[in-house]
Structure formats: C-alpha cells, structure tokens
Symmetry: C2
Subunit: 345 residues, 2 copies
C-alpha cells in the first residue's frame, strides 16, 4: 500500500490521469492555471458533488463505482439538455492516508463512464481540469461541460398538454439498491438479481444512447431525485399537469418485488435494516416497489415529453401523458412530490 501522503501531488495527478483521452476540442488540458477548449455552439455546464456519509458510506465504498456514479450523475445532466458532452472537471478531496490504488480506481471509474457516454454519443469526454485536496471526508465534486446547437437545448419548460411522457433507462432500481444496503444486503451476500439493484445504486448506468433517438422532444429531465419530484419540476416549469399510467409502470415495478420482499422481511424480523426511503410506510411489497419507482432517483433515467408527431425511437417507453393542470398524478390520483431533497421539507 502506498499512501497519497507518501507521494507528491503532481505524481499522483499524472498517475490518475494516465488514461485521459485526447480530444480535438482541447487546446490546453490539465497542467496550466486553467484548461482552454473550443466548444462548438452553446455551452452546457452543470456541477454536482458526492459527499461521504451523505451520498455514500465508507462501509459500502467501492472507489471505482464511486467514480462511475460521480461521472454519471453529471453527464446525465448535460445529456438531459440534449447536449453532447465536452469534458469534465474533477475536484476530489480524500484522506491523505488513502492508498493510491483507491484513487486510481476512482479515476478509472470516471474514465469508464465518460468513455461509455462518449461511445454512445460519438464524442470524446476528456478530463480537462480539476483539483486534488486532502480531507477527512471523501468529497467528489464534478463539473460536466457539453455543447448544444443554438436552438436545440431541451429544457424542462417545453411540455405541452397532448404530449406523451416517455422514459429512457429505469427508475426505482437505485432506490431499491439503497434500501437493500440499509437492510444489510451486500453485493457478495445476495443473488444476481438483488446484486444488480445494488450495483445501480453504487454505479448507475444512464442510457445515453437513447438520447440519439429522442428526436424533437418538447421537454426533458434527468430523473435524479425521483419521478414524483422531477416530474413536478417539469410540470411547474412547463405550466402543465402530468398523469402517469400505472399499467405502463408495471415493467418497472414488477422486477423490484423480490427486493421489496427482502427489505420488508428483514425489517419484520428485526434485521439490520436502518429504514430509509419508504420502507417504514409501505405495507406490502407492491407498495414499496411502486414507491421506489415513483420517488427513487439516482438511476438517472431520462424523462421526456413529445408531441404525437415526434414519438421518440429505440430506448424510450411511454409512461404517461401531459395534460392541463399543475400537478403530477398516477391514473388521475395526485402523487405527492416526495423524492429526494437535501435539507428536509
């Protein structure tokens, strides 16, 4: 084991950035005061951070998956604007007794996910800058940059009554994985079905490729905080109501039933479940699985609205309709916006 404190900052940076892909857009990469790049069109930028004990725990920590998750949550935001990723800035604060191998794994996860997005969208996604700092808590703060044509950013505000609502990727799997972890499940103690849910929590895999077939969507959002909350944001920004169709969600809910049964059983038998999310209020596995689908974010599925003339292609499933109003409902019954939010309320 070689602790970061035994190495110099520049040596560490050259080791973790060894895999950095070259990109014709990068004029000056890491190493000067700032990067210089040549974006084409308008610039799309977003920043998001993962904080130890808030977004993950040391106990579950898989450095490579943490890198995947940190990249995914930022790339998904760029892509949800209809933009093409341009580059990442990575600020990482880690304890100075961290093994260099762990930091290399973190960056390996970042590169893997950036490469996955780049392959799906036919672009290069280099790390163009960042900062490395020592800290008692692990914090990964990322800025993702992208580019979009002058009139082609897809905002939250464009949904119109008569549009249908579509989803690419999944929702609910990451929340199920989190409740499994809180219930004491670990990747090496459960079967492949539950393990894959835990993997979605630890290393979500947004379906970037579906963005190639989104077409003339009227609105789009990265579902990071749960359908109920994120669709309420679309509804508010667009001045519309949104009705989810329960029958169209069953393909998302049904695969979560075994996990819901595991979690409820663990709680019933006084297992190690700490109880987060919806576990404490769900009476049945069906209720719990549905609540994961409605309120669970972090799969980074993409929700988009589109008029009948512009039905999205491969990778998109219809899950509801845009209507007049200002709320989100499920088969006509209002759904409270109870996805994830920092700072309560």
């Amino acid at each position: 084991m070689t602790r970061l404190s035994e190495l110099g900052e520049s040596h560490i940076i050259s080791r973790v950035l060894g895999r950095n892909p070259s990109s014709t857009h990068v004029i000056v990469g890491p190493g000067d005061d700032a990067a210089v790049t040549a974006p084409e069109g308008r610039l799309v930028s977003t920043a998001d951070m993962l904080v130890e004990n808030e977004d993950f725990t040391r106990e579950w920590l898989d450095w490579k998956k943490l890198g995947v998750k940190a990249a995914a949550q930022n790339l998904a935001d760029v892509c949800a604007m209809g933009a093409t990723p341009h580059g990442l800035l990575i600020s990482a604060a880690v304890p100075d007794d961290t093994d260099i191998v762990c930091l290399e794994a973190l960056y390996s996860g970042l590169f893997d996910e950036a490469e996955r997005a780049g392959t799906a969208l036919d672009c290069m996604v280099p790390i163009i800058g960042g900062d490395l700092s020592s800290s008692g808590l692990i914090v990964i703060a990322i800025t993702a940059l992208g580019t979009v044509g002058e009139e082609s950013a897809i905002l939250r505000s464009g949904a119109r009554p008569g549009d249908s609502l579509y989803l690419a990727g999944t929702v609910g799997r990451s929340a199920a994985g989190l409740d499994l972890l809180f219930a004491g499940a670990r990747p090496d103690t459960v079967g492949p079905e539950l393990r894959s849910l835990i993997d979605t929590q630890l290393a979500p895999q947004p379906d970037y490729g579906a963005l190639r077939t989104v077409g003339a969507a009227s609105a789009m959002i990265d579902v990071s905080d749960g359908l109920s909350l994120d669709l309420a944001r679309v509804a508010a920004a667009s001045g519309v109501g949104i009705d989810l169709d329960c029958s169209l969600l069953s393909d998302l809910v049904d695969p979560l039933l075994p996990a819901a049964e595991f979690v409820l059983e663990t709680r019933a038998t006084g297992g190690s479940g700490d109880g987060v999310g919806k576990t404490e209020v769900a009476a049945t596995a069906e209720d719990l699985a549905l609540s994961w689908v409605l309120d669970g974010g972090e799969d980074h599925g993409f929700a988009a609205s589109a008029p009948p003339s512009a039905v999205p292609g491969v990778g998109w499933r219809r899950i509801g309709e845009i209507r007049t109003g200002h709320d989100v409902s499920l088969d006509g019954t209002p759904v409270p916006a109870s996805g994830f939010s920092h700072f309560g309320k």
Copy 2:
C-alpha cells in the same frame, strides 16, 4: 436562527441566489438540469475547492470571507490565462444545522468577489449553476469559466530568456496572515497592520485590474502556491531558468517584518503558535518575512514574463529576469521549490 434543515432546498437556493446578476451570455441559468451559455471565443475552465480543516478551520471561519476566497482562487486562475470571466458553478456542502444567514453570507462573499472581478475587467460574472448538499464538513467546490480569443491565452510555457519577470498584486501577505492565526492572532486582537494580513489570508483580493495592462506577456501564472513553486512550474513549462532580484522584493518583504516579529516572539515565549509554514526554521524576522514572500501562496498575485518590447503597465512591478537554465534562483542562489503542495513531498 433558522437552520437549513428547516428549509427546503429550492427555498434556500432562491434566497442565496437573490443577488445573481443577469448576463447577456446566459441563455438558461440555474434551475434546469444544466446551464446554457454563449461563450465568445475559446472556453477557459478551472476548478478548485476549499475544504474545512485543510484550507480553513471552523474557529477562524468567516462565511463571507470564505466566499470571497473561494471565488478569488478560481477567478484568479481564469484571469491568469488572460481570459475574461464568464460565470461560476458553485457546489457547496455544509452541515444541515447551518444557519441560513451563514449561507447567505457565503454567497454574498462569492457575489462580492465576482462583482469586483467583473468591474475590474468590464464583464458580468453570474453564478450559472451548482449544487447544494449537506455534509459534516464544509466544502466549497467552484468551477470558474472564462473566454479568451483564439490565439490569446497566456500559458505558463511562453517565458523566454531575456524576458523580465513581473508581479501584479502581492505575495507573502496571506502566508503571514496564516502564521499570525496559528500564532493566536485574531482580527479583533491585533492592530490594523496585522489585521490586514489576516484579511488577505481569509479573503484574498487579486488585482484583476492589472490584467488589463499585462499586454503581450509571454507567460503568466496565478501565484497560488508560492513564488518558488509556481515559478518552478513556469520554468519547467517554458524550459527556462528564473532569477529573482532580492532588492526588487524588499517592497514585499519589509511590510511583513512586524508580523514576523510577532510570530517569532509568540513562539519564543511558548505562546499558542502551532508552527506552520516556515516559522520553525526562520532564525530572524527578515528570514521569516522573506520565506513568506518566496513560499507563500494564496494572495493570488499574478506573475508574468514579458520581453523588453512589451513591458506591462500600471499595477505590475519587475521582480526578476528570465534566463537560460531550468531552476529558480534569488540573486543567483538556487531557491528550493517549497511552496504549498497537498500530500507532502
């Protein structure tokens, strides 16, 4: 007192961003998945973070000054490329029992410094995005964006023998302020002279205005880690040696002598000084003051090299010469690169 945990995330964000200036470059500001802006020319981007216990302590914490410092260290990096600031992305992680008034002070400091840079360089510097998270430790991670003409970025690699070396702003004051804090000095227990050094540590004020008169500089760097280390970076990138002229540094060293005497006296009498930086090896106040000037960063002075045909204007002082070689010297004697570096060595 109103704790963040009693408020909703969106309410908090709207309160802290109330002062956000409008900018014609911003097409979509905070509130969607990502910002959309229209940079002119090439994009300059940099990211840097401030971490509690590493970069500041709760004991010395002044939220507004923390905001100033966080903005300054990122804006200085953008400006040291010869670029014009374009916008900031702010990721802040703070304990959820933080008073909203503290967070408002933090953002007030961010806006103050962004406005100061904007006024100096005749541009708007809005906050275009970011993230707010709860955390046990305070972490402020910023990405600063800027724009520069196609051929006009000023890199570290352009210094040439025969150029002179110039400084805008100061070096050493922030390091003196830090050693004063470690020696037990506090803004309300010392006179105005020492207090202003502590203020430079807590809220550095880069001389952005000097960048208007830098002219055709051959290289430039934000002196964030100390002259000895940052000039060694310029020397390495440019393939040159750099000789500092001790007599030209006296205007920087002499004003630090009272602080050096305070710090050495506190240590001699067994005061509360913890001893950081160079205190433990400096025998005299002159030695200590000179070591602050050579090795102390965080004033965010700008060092630039320029040929005789392009002497920078108002705000710049000559401090040395670019020569052949590959090291940094002071009146011909090698200076070890011993400024600040994370992770030892």
